[in-house]
């Protein structure tokens, strides 16, 4: 598990209490009933706080899975 995975999975588990370490990386908006607009807001705030980056809110509103967010973060952190 990469360092990014470790940090991101902690945030996912903070936002969605039902996730455990095994299934966190498979998380998608469709598979998580609690991934509503409020949870999305919380997840965005957690990611911005952890990585010190601000994201376009429209772009963030389109996030639908752990994998997609990880890819976005990788691109952003590579600069």
């Amino acid at each position: 598990m990469s360092e990014l995975d470790v940090r991101l999975s902690v945030l996912f588990r903070a936002a969605f209490s039902s996730l455990d370490e095994q299934n966190v990386r498979e998380a998608t908006r469709d598979s998580l009933a609690k991934w509503d607009s409020i949870a999305a807001m919380t997840l965005l705030a957690l990611i911005e706080e952890e990585f010190g980056e601000q994201f376009d809110l429209e772009e963030a509103a389109g996030w639908t899975s752990y994998a997609q967010i990880k890819e976005t973060l990788e691109k952003r952190l590579r600069g």
Partner: protein, 577 residues
């Protein structure tokens, strides 16, 4: 605290059967994060409780506060931003920023503050209300250079400060300090127009955290310490008295010792608020008394009681002072310039709060004062607080005077004791609540009552709260007894009974029972008694009246036959039971 930490804290399991505490968050924006942070900070302060935060309707602060029924809440917090007073002072409504509408906006702000004040007045009669003045900047209505405040801004703040003044004077209302918020959350990093426009949340997360932390400290304030024990040399004044003499110790700007003068002023201020101030100094007693008698000292000699000045260990002095004050070390702070002395005292009294005086470093003095404010700060200073120190000193004198038991009857008859009874179901009696939650010795069972249960208990029809205030020729003591109970038919059950240790040996406890028998017209009183390590005075009183600990019930007949003479003059404020 970060958002992740807040969420993790909330997820942690609460103790089984934890008491429920419900708070209302009066914030008109999307307040998810504020709810999260407020819950987390309250849980950190009160881990024994199950905390629930309820939010009001989005976009309607004033209407929501006007409609709420406060009885179900432990506390209410109000975050009032400019747009709550007039929507044109926000970014989500377009109503014009031209000078032609300024007068109308000011009128809207005044009207909004009036509604807010009325709503808070009603709520605070039932539960504590924490109020935050606008924390976000005004939108750019004025076209002036940002460095300059011009007419509109000054005018809009004017009624707001009037409102703040009202909040500060109102019992039950706790105004969040804008200065403290400025320290925790600089105004430049509070507002987020991006999330305001897209999500209806105008706050940056760090600002939300700061706001929630301060609100939680006002909603669930820590118990204030009762006493401070201070050193003299290089603490109360600069210099070693034995070396420089009485006139050689300094505490002024001219002497290069201003921080000691500032400390003296601070101590005098604490003393006048009822904090006990004692002295523990290794010094020549006669010389120290001469220095303490200097008329240019910023703290009066009479503000210190007792003064332990000799060459014995500081821990021994602290032990004797605690005994004279009749308080535990956990309720006291110890200040000394010597880390060694501090360590010695701390080793003997692990729960005492110790502070090293900042010595010659003025930069650390503000931090030192801030710590003391944190330890001694109370939401409101009551008359009882102000007279506590004086009555303790009087007590010391009285104990000496009445040492011969044969003289006690005559002594008690001659002190012109007066008792004032108040029987009610007043859940907003902050002094009674404080007494119940800090008194250890004359305490029926040692139970503490969280704010959340206090109001609920008194809401029951058969419940009553009896408080007793005391005065005698030496002066008033204020409210010194709180007793909670239930009356059913001809029997009363007392679930909580505390009396301040300052009021011992005046037969106030006997008079309290007599009042209960007579006023409630009951034949028996049952007590929910539990022995604790510290309620020995209560146990001794039970033994005196022959109340068995295993079946703690007292009949009126037994009481009448065992009660000594009661010399008090009695008065009663209107009853509500």
């Amino acid at each position: 605290m970060k958002l992740r930490e807040a969420l993790e804290l909330i997820r942690q399991a609460r103790p089984a059967g934890a008491e429920q505490a419900r708070y209302l968050l009066g914030c008109s924006t999307t307040s998810t994060h504020l709810q999260t942070f407020l819950q987390a900070y309250l849980l950190r302060q009160r881990p024994e409780l199950a905390i629930e935060i309820e939010a009001i309707l989005y976009g309607d602060l004033l209407g929501s506060l006007e409609r709420i029924q406060p009885q179900g809440y432990t506390g209410v917090t109000v975050v009032c931003e400019w747009y709550d007073l007039d929507p044109r002072l926000g970014f989500r409504r377009l109503g014009g920023w031209a000078p032609s509408v300024f007068g109308d906006i000011i009128g809207g702000v005044r009207a909004g503050l009036g509604r807010l004040q009325n709503a808070i007045e009603k709520i605070s009669a039932v539960v504590p209300v924490v109020v935050a003045l606008p924390t976000l900047p005004l939108p750019p209505l004025e076209i002036s250079v940002p460095a300059q405040t011009v007419g509109f801004e000054a005018e809009v703040w004017s009624p707001t400060w009037e409102f703040a003044r009202w909040c500060g004077s109102r019992s039950g209302v706790r105004l969040l300090s804008p200065a403290e918020l400025d320290l925790k959350s600089p105004s430049s990093v509070r507002f987020d127009l991006r999330t305001e426009l897209s999500q209806g949340c105008p706050y940056q997360v760090a600002h939300i955290s700061a706001l929630a932390e301060l609100m939680s400290r006002l909603l669930a304030p820590a118990t204030a310490l009762k006493g401070l024990i201070t050193d003299l040399d290089d603490t109360l004044w600069e210099g070693i008295l034995g070396e420089v003499g009485v006139s050689g110790v300094g505490f002024t700007l001219e002497a290069g010792a201003q921080i000691h003068g500032l400390y003296q002023q601070f101590l005098q201020s604490l003393a006048e608020r009822g904090v006990l101030i004692g002295i523990a100094s290794k010094n020549d007693s006669a010389l120290a008394e001469q220095a303490l008698a200097r008329t240019d000292l910023l703290v009066r000699r009479a503000s210190f009681f007792p003064a332990e000045i000799h060459w014995q260990p500081k821990s021994a002095s602290v032990g004797r002072i605690l005994k004279r004050w009749n308080v535990g070390p956990e309720a006291v702070a110890f200040v000394d310039d010597s880390p060694l002395e501090v360590a010695e005292v701390q080793a003997h009294f692990p729960t005492i709060r110790c502070l090293v005086f900042p010595g010659k470093d003025p930069a650390r003095l503000l931090e030192f004062f801030a710590t003391l404010r944190e330890w001694f700060g109370k939401p409101k200073i009551r008359d009882e607080d102000r007279i506590r120190a004086r009555s303790l000193q009087r007590n010391a004198t009285m104990h000496d005077e009445r040492y011969d038991p044969a003289l006690q009857e005559a002594f008690l008859a001659g002190i012109e004791a007066r008792l004032s009874f108040q029987l009610s179901r007043n859940g907003n009696d902050e002094r009674a609540f404080e007494l119940v939650n800090k008194t250890n010795q004359f305490n029926l069972n040692g139970r503490r009552i969280p704010e959340v249960r206090w109001v609920d208990m008194l809401a029951q029809r058969e419940s009553f709260l009896l408080t007793v205030a005391y005065s005698d020729k030496f002066g008033p003591m204020g409210k010194i007894v709180a007793l909670l109970g239930r009356r059913v038919g001809r029997e009363a059950t007392v679930s909580t009974w505390v009396m301040s240790c300052r009021a011992f040996s005046r037969r106030i406890e006997h008079a309290t029972l007599r009042y209960l028998f007579e006023r409630l017209e009951v034949d028996r009183i049952a007590f929910e008694f539990e022995a604790t390590e510290r309620n020995i005075p209560l146990q001794e009183f039970f033994a005196e009246l022959g109340i068995p600990k295993s079946a703690p019930i007292l009949t009126r007949k037994d009481f009448d036959s065992r009660c000594p003479s009661l010399p008090h003059a009695l008065e009663e404020v209107p009853a509500h039971v």
